[in-house]
Amino acid sequence: MKIEDQTKCLMLSLPNDPQYGVLLRKFVSWVAMLEQFDIKAIEDIEWAVDEAFTNALQHGVPTVDGQEVITVCIYPLQDSIEITVHDSGNGFDPEAIKCRQEEDARDCEFDLAECGRGLDLIAASMDDLQYDRVPDGTRVRMVKHRRTEAEGT
């Protein structure tokens, strides 16, 4: 994932307010539509971005002026779309969470937890996923490849 090479980017910066989730989803799904992703891929991208936004809302820490902003960058690439969601929180160790989830899965076949499905949904929806601590917060990078004709519907 070489974001640095890419100049063409659509950026969206939103206040820390869940009412804007629907706008973000619509916007991202439209970019994916313009980029000729199929409907299933668009649904996946919508889920991933929504979950990353919700996590940023819940786990991002407001900056000194009290107004946290969540920044989303969309990079339409040749064979994929790459999306980053950037919040100003302290991040976390995705490995630790992964382990906890695997334990849960071992423990109970029918998971009745009331939270904790966001990262799973992102992972299931996207082809590549990476969390980074950046100087001013946490950034998740997600990649969805365009399916070639050969791979079918």
Binding site: Q19, L23, E43, L57, F110, L112, C115, R117, G118, D120
Partner: protein, 124 residues
Amino acid sequence: MGNVTNFAVETKVACAEGAVVAIVGEMDAYTTPQVKVAMQQMLDDGHKYLIVNLARAEYLDSTALGALVGALKRAREKGGDLRLVAPTARIMRLLDITRLSKVFPIDATDEEAVAHLSAERTGA
């Protein structure tokens, strides 16, 4: 031009101890609290059998699923249950991805759900 603000929760009493909660529009971190309140209200009013109609639910995310799982647990704690009705293909896919299609009983219509719950209630 489409509508982003068409979210609604509709509740109606279906039978003695059962109620239908119909979700219209997109259920996400912003709108889920409304659904939680509606489901809790029904439970508090003695309707321990909840039927959540998803026919007009255009979108659900993990926050929405968490609320449905929570209501399912609360209903079962009261000796009741929660059934989903008519999820769209997209929502069915979400339930499969999250393995919740094994957790929630799913029916095609409210009537079917009522029939199942009546059977459960009478211990049939």
